[in-house]
């Protein structure tokens, strides 16, 4: 799927320093092709989350350029709400809306942003709640759900917007171990469906199985971009080999 496709995300020489002086991204360049699954790995604090969040501009950058689906998102004149609606994001801490039922969690942005009718939004919501296996909880409030169930709601909420790209930031890190597999399975089946995905994760099994390419970051820099096979058996950089030996 990844060969010869056109790039849907292009990051060029992205730099980002937080107000506290931490240089989180240094000259990061990466292009992601349509339908590609890119997994970003790296030690804690290496800038994975920061980079992911620059793609939908939850984090602004100091210099460089990021183009998503042909739109320069780093241009101050760009209408961000429009491009953000095409990029789904799944967070480590779910961030479901606690004051709304599961169904309304998935309906809200569809009606507000996509201007769908309530009926249409509800049908689509149910379709995706079914897909993530949680349609039976549609009338529950998030407070009554387990972490794994909340993350399913969050995934359905993002998918219901029919995004062109899905960003996952450690979607399983806050889950109890027995919940992790279910979420990873959903992510794998999405990967197979051909949706473009950028995934930050510490789950090397997932990276190996689902990634088209793996990006290794360290101290705000991309050190190596390689296929899963090469990363795990034949890594070029010393730092990546060190990182893998620490976690595997």
């Amino acid at each position: 799927m990844s060969e010869n496709g056109e790039a849907i995300i292009i990051a060029e020489n992205v730099n980002k320093t937080y107000p506290n002086g931490v240089k989180a991204l240094r000259d990061v360049s990466l292009s992601v092709k349509k339908g590609e699954v890119v997994v970003i790995i790296g030690a804690s604090g290496s800038g994975k989350t920061t980079f992911l969040r620059t793609i939908n501009q939850l984090e602004y950058i100091d210099s460089g350029k990021i183009t998503v689906d042909g739109v320069d998102v780093t241009d101050p004149k760009t209408n961000l709400t429009k491009i953000r609606a095409e990029i789904g994001m799944v967070f480590q801490h779910f961030n479901v809306f606690p004051h709304m039922s599961v169904l309304n969690n998935v309906i809200l942005a569809q009606t507000l942003v996509k201007k769908r009718s309530r009926k249409e939004a509800e049908d689509i919501a149910l379709e995706f709640l079914n897909k993530v296996g949680i349609a039976d909880k549609k009338d529950d409030y998030p407070g009554n759900l387990s972490g794994g169930q909340q993350q399913r709601v969050a995934i359905a909420r993002a998918l219901a917007m029919n995004p062109k790209i899905m960003l996952f930031d450690e979607a399983t890190s806050a889950l109890d171990p027995e919940m992790v597999g279910g979420i990873l399975d959903i992510m794998k089946s999405l990967a197979k469906e051909g949706i473009t995905m950028v995934v930050v994760t510490h789950e090397m099994g997932f990276a190996r199985e689902a990634a088209d390419r793996i990006v290794f970051m360290d101290h705000g820099q991309i050190i190596e971009i390689n296929t899963p096979d090469n990363v795990f058996t034949n890594a070029k950089s010393e730092r990546l080999r060190q990182f893998l030996s620490q976690i595997l």
């Binding site: 939908n56 939850l58 709400t81 429009k82 953000r84 609606a85 095409e86 990029i87 789904g88 994001m89 967070f91 801490h93 961030n95 479901v96 809306f97 606690p98 004051h99 809200l108 942005a109 507000l112 942003v113 409030y141 407070g143 009554n144 969050a154 909420r157 993002a158 917007m161 960003l167």
Partner: protein, 315 residues
């Protein structure tokens, strides 16, 4: 709960009632020491009283009939006269002479304290609405990243919180009120709203800031704009969280409205002062005024608890 704990609880509740009775009794005792003679009988009439007006016959004549509260009299000159009389003892055929009482009308009328209470309710209601609007807007300005909006909000909040309400009422009434030709009521409601609005702004700000950033980020990632995020995600959660504080502020507002008596708005406190000075029952009047305030504030308290419980169901 353990059995012994339960018994203890009951004992302490009994003790509470005894303490209350004791306190009441000591107030009574204290009043005896200053030779105060209690007279509660007149108090209800300060709240509501039965207004009786006697009706006199305008002519000499004969009663022809009485139907549906209307007395029909035929004068000696054969003219028919109809009088509205609610209560009469006259029967058809009775003779009446001019200016003789033929009966009376009676109806309930609000006493001065009730009129004052209604004024307090009115001015509090208007002030709460304006204060909420001010509070919301300045609360949002306060957390804005725009220095103009933010500094304006901070200046307003600090000035209002740093000066006494009484002084503010004077300033609004004598200065702003005169410049803009405001009525007492408008000036009073405005002064109160501006004062409470500063506190509500801080409550709203705290509420918004207490909602985790993840909520805003998830909404932004879905493509929602600032207004939509505030309206559908942040405010509903923030308001739920600060509802007790808001209710407390409303209660303060109702009580603070008593200061408006100083600019001659006849609300409950001014009414109380007028009644107290024209009767010889200051204690009864002031206790009654206090009770009326308490009924209003306690109702707000109960309302708050009710809404909190309703909202808690949706979690």
């Amino acid at each position: 709960m353990r059995k012994a704990d339960k018994r203890n609880k009951i004992l302490w509740n009994v003790a509470f009632v005894i303490v209350l009775i004791g306190l009441g009794f000591s107030v009574y005792k204290a009043s005896l020491r200053i030779n105060y003679s209690w007279n509660w009988r007149a108090v209800p009439s300060y709240i509501i009283y039965n207004n009786v007006t006697n009706i006199n016959s305008p002519v000499n004549g004969v009663v022809k009939g009485y139907k549906d509260g209307v007395l029909i009299i035929e004068s000696l000159a054969k003219k028919t006269i109809k009088l509205k009389v609610a209560h009469t003892k006259l029967k058809p055929g009775s003779k009446v002479t001019q200016d003789e009482p033929v009966g009376y009308n009676s109806h309930y009328q609000p006493g001065p304290l009730l009129i004052g209470l209604i004024m307090t309710l009115k001015i509090s209601f208007v002030s709460i609405i304006i204060a909420l609007v001010i509070g919301f807007i300045t609360g949002l300005m306060r957390i804005s990243s725009n220095p103009l909006l933010k500094n304006l909000a901070i200046t307003y909040i600090e000035l209002i919180r740093g000066t006494p309400l009484l002084v503010q009422i004077f300033i609004v009434y004598f200065f702003i009120g005169t410049v803009f030709n405001m009525t007492r009521f408008v000036a009073g409601a405005f002064a109160l709203a501006v004062f409470e609005g500063a506190y509500i702004a801080e409550i709203i700000r705290a509420g918004i800031q207490s909602i985790s950033k993840g909520q805003t980020e998830a909404s932004l990632a879905l493509g929602m704009n600032y207004f939509q995020i505030m309206r559908y995600i942040i405010m509903p959660q923030a308001i739920k969280r600060v509802l007790p504080a808001l209710a407390g502020q409303f209660i303060s507002l109702v009580k603070d409205s008593s200061l408006l008596s100083i600019i001659s708005i006849t609300e409950l406190t001014k009414a109380g002062r007028e009644v107290a000075s024209s009767t010889f029952s200051p204690f009864e009047v002031w206790f009654t005024v206090a009770a009326l305030y308490f009924i209003m504030t306690y109702t707000l308290s109960l309302l708050d608890r009710y809404i909190e419980r309703r909202l808690a169901r949706n979690e």
